[in-house]
């Protein structure tokens, strides 16, 4: 046997030791927090120091700086708080009602898929429609209180839930159904033990999308018809050219959005832990 011929050129190609890779992983983990927060701070700093004002030739009455928005939030904390609750109740109520209606529609359609599918398709076309247009109609129906905005939010959310849940209820591994059939399980048992369970991840996905849709629906609804709420305050303060308070509404609405989103996420984690673990992998 000859000796292993190892040409010299190979020497300058260094193998990657495992330790080096690990170092890089650690670094990227740290940068996952540092970079975005640094970016956020930088953005706020440029804004505060009127960088955007200079670039876009804006005045402070057009685009208030962060500190004046913060001051405005502090000064109006009471009204912002009570309006947040008002708008929040529209969001939650409307989102739950709309999602529930969509879910019921999906379940009904899943029991009669042949006729149901057409109905779901029709509902899906609601998603392509700018629902804002319905705001004045809802005002005519339900007055200018919470109910009209809830109705807008419901209409905006039910299609997403119906489509998503229907998909979940119908897309089941055929062998699972065969397994249930081998136990001579009834249609309702298959639904309770199999279909509904498998649809839950889809239901939560729809719920999360619906949460952010709901905020838009409630706020836009209040632009049109309301004498209370964050959307009303926002459009009202713009008319009064009180920009810091208008921006405060945006900030509070954003916070509200994030909080509601996380609440849904926590519930999801409690209800379908098996799916969360799977998704992480």
């Amino acid at each position: 046997m000859k000796e292993m011929a190892v040409p010299q050129s190979a020497d300058n190609i260094r193998p990657k030791p495992a330790a080096l890779k690990k170092g890089r992983a650690l670094k990227s983990k740290r940068s996952a927090y540092l970079l975005p927060s640094g970016f956020g701070v930088l953005f706020l700093l440029i804004w505060q120091l009127k960088g955007f004002h200079k670039v876009f030739h804006l005045e402070q009455y057009q685009l208030p700086i962060p500190s004046s928005i913060a001051v405005s939030i502090r000064e109006n904390v009471d009204v912002l708080w009570s309006y947040s609750l008002y708008t929040g109740s529209e969001i939650v109520g409307g989102c739950l009602a709309g999602s529930l209606f969509g879910l019921i529609a999906a379940v009904a359609a899943s029991f009669f898929p042949r006729t149901g599918r057409g109905g779901i398709t029709l509902m899906a076309s609601l998603n392509a429609v700018p629902i804002v247009a319905l705001a004045p109609v809802m005002n005519n129906w339900f007055g200018d209180g919470v109910a009209s905005k809830m109705a807008i939010v419901s209409v905006m959310t039910m299609a997403t839930m119906a489509v998503s849940a229907f998909k979940g209820l119908r897309s089941i591994d055929p062998t699972s159904i065969e397994l249930m059939n081998s136990y001579a399980a009834g249609k309702f048992q298959i639904f309770a033990k199999l279909r509904f369970r498998s649809a839950l991840p889809h239901v939560f996905t729809a719920l999360k999308i619906n949460m952010s849709t709901s905020i838009i629906g409630a706020i836009v609804g209040e632009f049109f018809i309301s004498s209370r709420g964050l959307g009303y305050l926002l459009s009202d303060q713009i008319k009064l050219a009180n920009m810091p308070l208008a921006w405060s509404c945006i900030v509070i609405a954003a916070l509200l959005g994030i909080i509601l989103y996380y609440i849904v996420q926590v519930i999801e984690r409690l209800v379908i832990p098996w799916h969360i673990a799977q998704r992480k992998q």
Binding site: S31, P36, P113, R114, T121, V129, P130, P136, S212
Partner: protein
Amino acid sequence: MTGRLFKKFGQNGTFVLWAAAILLLWEAGAWFIEDIAQLTAPASKLPYIHRVLSSLVEHFPTMIKQGAVTFGNSITGFVIGSAIGFALAILMSLSRTVENTLSPYMIASQMIPIIGLAPIIYGIIHDAALSRVLMAGYVTFFPVTINALRGIKSIKQEQLELMRSYAASTWTLYLKLKLKSALPGLFAGLKLSAPLAITASIIVELMGAPDGIGVLMVSSLYYGTAQVYMFWSTVLISMAIGLLLYLIITLLERWMTPWQPEFRSKGRDET
């Protein structure tokens, strides 16, 4: 073959049946409200569809003109927004640093009522057309970026290894694999943001722009019962605009990504 055709018709058939049923229900509801219950201002609650349609025909030139303004601005913003969004998705897929920096904001933006910015933007620039384009672009941009990036990231490890085994350059890798894989995600994003783009434009109009379908909507509301069918016509037109944009995107999707499972002619039967 005929069986498939028949089935296809069956699916569309139930859709048509449902639509017809809803229209009938609507007419019945209108009849109930106006002639049975005799509520006040019945047409602002639920008007007869046929009267709305006749009003639509009557005001058709105005409707089309204003609708075109809204649609034109929306679509301009929509196209610009998707182009920027797609470019950003590619940038984020190229650089981990850019992705790490921007992705938390991308996710947060999904939870934030961006449309709330519409009146503020209009308040700042006071130019209706520009505001519409800007808002439509702004609401388009995030869903497109997130979904396109998701598409790029869904590429299988072995596909990347295959391209690597060909010693493909980054440019080739994008051209042959990554951009193609991003397309289904891109279209998912476009379909999500299309109605948002229209809504954004309409909201700008409601905030006091001089023209557009939203302005017509508000002004016909002011005249109360006199213009009520006109108002319902604007609602129908804005729905039609939304559906039209959606339809255009769906057709584009079918044309550009024919390999997607839902477009396969065999049709995967669900049980």
